[in-house]
Symmetry: C2
Subunit: 331 residues, 2 copies
DNA sequence: TTGAAAGCGGTACCAT
DNA sequence: ATGGTACCGCTTTCAA
């Protein structure tokens, strides 16, 4: 069943049928009704490929995500997909892992499918300044980055101010008397770097000496973080509070502390289920995906419909207090 | 830049260029090299829409998932996407939520995009026997269901035997002396029903009386489950072990127990990060997504390339023992 | 308001 | 091995 069949069965030309399909105003109500009736009757669905060919778009947005089995990214993708769909776009999902090669490859795959735009989630690394693939992609299609920062033409970023959040956390801990705050991280993404900077700035402001031995990289897993913290204990490294780049690591650290019967403030990032599932429940920085993602999608669709949009939007984070730290107990 | 340009610049016809694109053997090596060189030089990427129109496929598979922000589904989607990509398919993601209306709508959206097949994850409800939308979809394109059971033409299921797992868990607990085992669930999916059946069968086999008051539905959140269990305590309902349809609920129950200073076996399902993040760490049934998903994708791609495949594949579950239950301590 | 016809960029059959 | 050409099913311009 194609447009010709509908044309024939309704007694109009394919041009008119096409107009009906595209809600053109230049069709009399009577004609429209008749054609719509035939379409319904024949259960007609226009061929998306042909449509894509003619319009040069299938209204699909590519989502490039390092790892969707990570709760944080999963939530982001979930939000993005929902917003996109509300705007009439489909989401072409692509999970790349951390390899730069894979990212390049998959980005090209998405571009080859002629997506209308690409949204990067958790993909913008800083260690690796090689953003040439993003630059190349941006020449073909808009690139929106969620919680990452890449400043290039046709590239837009919506991010949460996690640097400020880290700064605030550390300031809070220092004002509560902590002087040796452990910071755990796994990979140095953009937001990873920004957190460390916030950490340092806060120490400086508070007049607390910075000890590089307290910044430690651990494997991205509960057991990895737990093991690392146990290692610190046994090596005699002292600390009186913990901040981790994400809840998963904070949960691991917390397990190590609990096992030793230690009690100290622990703060995670992402405000994920893991924070809630931990016992005691983790205080965590909410990086506002619920705001970030809709904002990013709104901006993108505006852009696609011709409106200018800012190149960078920053949203403040929010600390969600749970059992591992109560501000009230610190001041 | 299109196939005509490449033809012109290389001095061959579009037919030959097309043959090169499709790796037809009927092209001399010399010609092929020359055309490939021109393509590379011009950085040519064939138009996927035109290709789709001609071939009647863009090699896309629709993934219909109730909620990808749920760790379990996220993991499933992650695995499926990766397997699909290895086979050269793209994943069109669609998160429906639990509403049947939305499911129908989104399923039709996917079909309208002319996907080569649809994979349903966490979508097959049993309460709601209305599977007419799946039946309709299966008339257009193969439907693969992961961990759900719908027996219809052109519909295939790959699932984990969670009924047997529930049966084994309960048998284990009974043989360890438990006689009042609480079962928490949120929604009655297919697997939800099967677990309850397993629960009942095991009780019967063990000669332990069944008390319907011990089967309780709770909200799908840690706090929801925790609150519900606290409610049971305060209403004086007695129980000596807990099984939950998923880790999230088990984690909530565990929190309620811990708060009361109670210690008893707790078993969750899904073997997710939540099980690991809990303290004490949750014993949980691993429903083998790592096997289920690749199997489903392999079967689907076989089917698409013309091979016959079984309508139903069942894989056994596996109990992962952690701190909330050690088999060694029970026997 | 409607229709005729020329694209859109490929695939694939039929010749040669 | 290569080329000519008729599709695939829709959009859109131009005329009427």
């Amino acid at each position: 069943m194609n447009i010709y069949d509908i044309a024939e069965r309704s007694g109009f030309s394919i041009a008119t049928v096409s107009r009906v399909l595209n809600r053109s105003p230049n069709v009399s109500q009577k004609t429209r009704d008749k054609i719509l009736a035939v379409m319904r009757e024949e259960d007609y669905t226009p061929n998306a490929f042909a449509r894509g060919l003619g319009l040069n778009t299938m209204r699909m947005i590519g989502i490039l995500c390092t790892d969707i089995s990570d709760t944080y990214y999963a939530k982001a993708v979930s939000l993005v997909e929902n917003c996109l769909r509300k705007k009439g776009f489909d989401a072409l999902l692509c999970c790349t892992g951390n390899s730069l090669e894979e990212k390049k490859k998959y980005l090209n795959l998405l571009l080859a499918k002629r997506v209308d735009a690409v949204i990067l989630i958790g993909s913008a690394f800083k260690e690796n300044t090689d953003n040439s693939h993003i630059e190349a992609a941006a020449q073909q299609t808009p690139v929106m980055i969620i919680n990452g920062l890449v400043e290039l033409p046709n590239t837009y970023c919506v991010l949460c101010d996690e640097g400020a959040a880290a700064y605030d956390n550390i300031s809070l801990l220092c004002s509560g008397g902590c002087t040796r705050i452990l910071y755990l991280y796994d990979v140095l993404t953009y937001s990873g770097c920004v957190k460390i900077e916030g950490y340092k700035r806060a120490l400086e402001k508070c007049g607390v000496p910075f000890d590089p031995a307290l910044i430690v990289q651990v494997p991205k897993s509960i057991e990895g973080a737990r093991g690392a913290v146990e290692g610190l204990f046994s090596r005699g490294v002292e600390f009186d509070a913990v901040m981790a780049s994400e809840d998963l690591l904070a949960a691991g650290a917390l397990k190590a502390l609990t096992a030793r019967g230690c009690r100290m403030p622990v703060i995670g990032f992402n405000n994920s289920v893991i924070a809630e599932a931990s016992t005691p429940a983790l205080t965590s920085v909410d990086n506002r995906l619920e705001t970030l993602c809709p904002t990013a999608v709104d901006m993108l669709t505006s852009l696609l419909s011709g409106t200018e949009i800012p190149r960078k939007v920053v949203i403040p984070a929010r600390l969600v207090e749970r059992e591992t730290l109560r501000v009230a107990n610190l001041s």
